[in-house]
C-alpha cells in the first residue's frame, strides 16, 4: 500500500499517466522511471516529445527528446533556461518550488509553457516567459 502521498516515485508516474492519458507516448513504473509525453504548445506547432524522468530517489529531470534541440540550435547555442542543451534538459522551476512530497504532474503544463516560449524565442530572439538565471562560475 502506498504510505506517503508524494514520496513514492512510481506513484508520481502513475499520477501523470492517469491525469494526461492522451499525452502519454510511453512510460515505465520500474527503474528507470519515466513518462514520455507528446505535446503541442500551440495549435499549429510541431509535436514535441518530452520526458519526465525520476532518477535516484527524488530527483526530477525534464528533457525535450524530439526534436533534438542541440541539432536545431547549432548556430546559436544560447538557448534560455536549459541545464544541458546536449541532453535536452530544460529548467522549469526554482529548486524551492518543488519537493518530493508534491504532485509532480504540476510540471506537465510547465513543459508546454516552456515549449511555447521556446518557439517565440526561436522567432523573435526574446524569451518572454520570465525566470531566473544564475551566472556561470567562469567569466561571462
Amino acid at each position: 500500500m502506498i504510505k506517503n502521498k508524494g514520496n513514492n516515485p512510481s506513484l508520481q508516474i502513475f499520477r501523470i499517466v492517469s491525469k494526461f492519458p492522451d499525452l502519454v507516448e510511453s512510460h515505465s513504473f520500474k527503474q528507470p522511471l519515466f513518462v514520455n509525453l507528446r505535446i503541442k504548445p500551440t495549435e499549429q506547432s510541431r509535436t514535441y516529445l518530452a520526458q519526465i524522468k525520476l532518477t535516484g530517489s527524488k530527483k526530477l529531470d525534464v528533457l525535450v527528446l524530439k526534436p533534438n534541440l542541440a541539432k536545431e540550435n547549432k548556430e546559436n547555442k544560447n538557448v534560455p533556461h536549459m541545464y544541458s542543451l546536449k541532453d535536452g534538459r530544460i529548467c522549469l522551476y526554482l529548486p524551492k518550488e518543488i519537493d518530493s512530497s508534491d504532485d509532480y504532474s504540476v510540471v506537465v503544463p510547465w513543459i508546454s509553457e516552456w515549449l511555447y516560449y521556446y518557439e517565440v524565442w526561436k522567432i523573435t530572439g526574446k524569451w518572454c516567459g520570465g525566470g531566473h538565471s544564475f551566472k556561470r562560475r567562469t567569466n561571462e
Binding site: 503541442k40 500551440t42 534560455p80 503544463p109 516560449y117 518572454c128
Partner: protein, 381 residues
C-alpha cells in the same frame, strides 16, 4: 487569445492601421481643409462644396509605409455644379489653398503635384485633394454618384477624368459586409474612428498591400514606379472575395483568383473597370507601359506562392515566412505580444493547458500554476 495563424495575421493587419493619434491628426486636417473651402466665397459662389474622405482611410485599408516614407490621405472636394468648367473648378480650390497662410507652404506645385489633385504636404503624410463636380451623364443609371475630375499637365489644358468615390466606398463596404449581419456605412468624417471592427476583406487587402510593399521594397527604388496601385489591388481583391470569415482561407482564395478579374480586350488592352463607373479604367496606365502589367503579374505569382506556403507551415516555419513577406520587425512584435500575453495570463492564474493536446489557452484545461523558469541563461555545450 490563442497563438495560431489566424490570430497572428489578424494582429499583423491590425498593427498596420494608423493609431488613434495619427487618425486624430488626419481628421483634424480634413476638417480644417473642409472649413477653409466651405468659407471661401470664390468657391461657394458656384455652389455648395462638400468635402469627404476617399481611398484607404475611407475604406479602412490603410497600411503604414515600410520605412520613413509618408502615407497617403485622400480627400474629395465635390462642388455641386455640373456646368462649371474644368479649369475654374481646379483653380478655385487651388487658389483657396495657395492664398491661405496655413497651406501656401504645404501645397505641391506642378510638375510634381497639381495634375489631378492638389497635394498638401504635412509632417507624416500628404493629403491629395481631388476637385470634382457631378457627372450628369454616367454610363448607367446605377452610377449616379459619378463625378468628373480634371487632369492637366501644364495648368492650361484640362481633360475630364471620370470616377465615383462615394459609389466605390459603398461598393467596397457591401463586399466586406456581404455575409455579415450588421452593415455600417461610412460617409462622414466623424465616423472614421468608429469604423466597424475591421472586416475580413479589409484585413485581406491590408495584408496583400503589405506584401506588395515588402516585395517592391526589396526590388529597390528603380521598381518603385511599377508598384501596383492600391485601387487595383483593392478592386481585384474585393471581386475575388466571397464572404470568407477565416482570414487565412479568405487570403488564400482571394490571392488565388484575384488576377482573373484583370480583363483584356481583343486588342490586348488591359482593363480593370471601376465597378461603379464604367468610364474609369484603373489599368489605363498599363496600356502605356508594358512594364506595369509585367511587374504586376510577376508580383502576383510570388504572392500566390508565398501565401500557399504560409498555409502549410508549422508555428515556427509560418512565423519565419511571415517575417520575410510582411516585414521582420512588425511580425516579431506580434509574437512578442503573444509571448508576453501568455506570461501575464499565467501570472493572473488564467493560463491553462488542454489535456488532450498540451495546447496552451485561456479557456479550458489544467491550470498552469506559478513557477519560475530557472537554470543557466546560456549553456555553452
Amino acid at each position: 487569445m490563442e497563438l495560431n495563424k489566424n490570430n497572428v495575421l489578424e494582429k499583423v493587419a491590425n498593427d498596420l492601421n494608423l493609431n488613434d493619434t495619427e487618425l486624430d491628426s488626419v481628421i483634424t486636417s480634413y476638417e480644417a481643409v473642409g472649413a477653409l473651402l466651405n468659407n471661401d466665397k470664390n468657391i461657394t459662389q458656384y455652389g455648395d462644396i462638400s468635402v469627404f474622405p476617399q481611398g484607404s482611410i475611407a475604406l479602412g485599408t490603410t497600411v503604414k509605409p515600410l520605412s520613413k516614407s509618408d502615407y497617403d490621405v485622400d480627400m474629395v472636394a465635390f462642388l455641386k455644379n455640373s456646368s462649371i468648367d474644368l479649369r475654374t473648378l481646379k483653380h478655385i480650390i487651388g487658389n483657396a489653398l495657395k492664398n491661405s497662410d496655413r497651406y501656401k507652404n504645404k501645397i505641391e506645385k506642378l510638375p510634381n503635384g497639381g495634375k489631378r489633385c492638389w497635394t498638401l504636404n504635412y509632417k507624416d503624410y500628404h493629403m491629395d485633394i481631388l476637385p470634382c463636380k457631378p457627372d450628369l451623364n454616367p454610363a448607367t443609371y446605377k452610377e449616379i454618384d459619378s463625378v468628373i475630375a480634371t487632369h492637366t499637365d501644364d495648368g492650361f489644358n484640362f481633360t475630364e477624368i471620370y470616377t465615383n468615390p462615394k459609389g466605390y466606398l459603398a461598393w467596397f463596404l457591401d463586399k466586406s459586409n456581404s455575409f455579415m449581419k450588421e452593415s455600417k456605412r461610412l460617409f462622414s468624417l466623424e465616423k472614421i474612428k468608429e469604423y466597424p471592427r475591421k472586416t475580413t476583406l479589409q484585413k485581406i487587402v491590408q495584408l496583400i498591400k503589405r506584401h506588395r510593399d515588402v516585395y517592391f521594397g526589396s526590388l529597390g527604388s528603380s521598381a518603385e514606379k511599377y508598384k501596383p496601385i492600391s485601387i487595383i489591388i483593392t478592386t481585384l481583391a474585393a471581386r475575388a472575395y466571397f464572404g470568407e470569415t477565416d482570414l487565412i482561407v479568405g487570403l488564400l482564395n482571394v490571392v488565388n483568383s484575384m488576377n482573373k478579374y484583370v480583363s483584356t480586350d481583343n486588342n490586348g488592352k488591359y482593363a480593370i473597370i471601376n465597378p461603379v463607373n464604367t468610364k474609369e479604367n484603373f489599368a489605363d496606365k498599363w496600356n502605356n507601359d508594358a512594364l506595369k502589367p509585367h511587374y504586376f503579374f510577376q508580383w502576383h505569382a510570388q504572392l500566390i506562392k508565398d501565401v500557399k506556403e504560409l498555409n502549410t507551415l508549422d508555428t515556427i516555419g509560418f512565423a519565419n515566412k511571415a517575417k520575410a513577406i510582411f516585414g521582420k520587425e512588425n511580425v516579431e512584435n506580434v509574437y512578442k505580444y503573444f509571448g508576453e500575453l501568455a506570461k501575464s495570463e499565467r501570472e493572473a492564474g488564467k493560463l491553462k493547458m488542454d489535456k488532450k493536446t498540451g495546447m496552451l489557452n485561456s479557456v479550458a484545461g489544467v491550470a498552469v500554476t506559478a513557477h519560475t523558469f530557472f537554470g543557466r541563461k546560456y549553456d555553452k555545450e
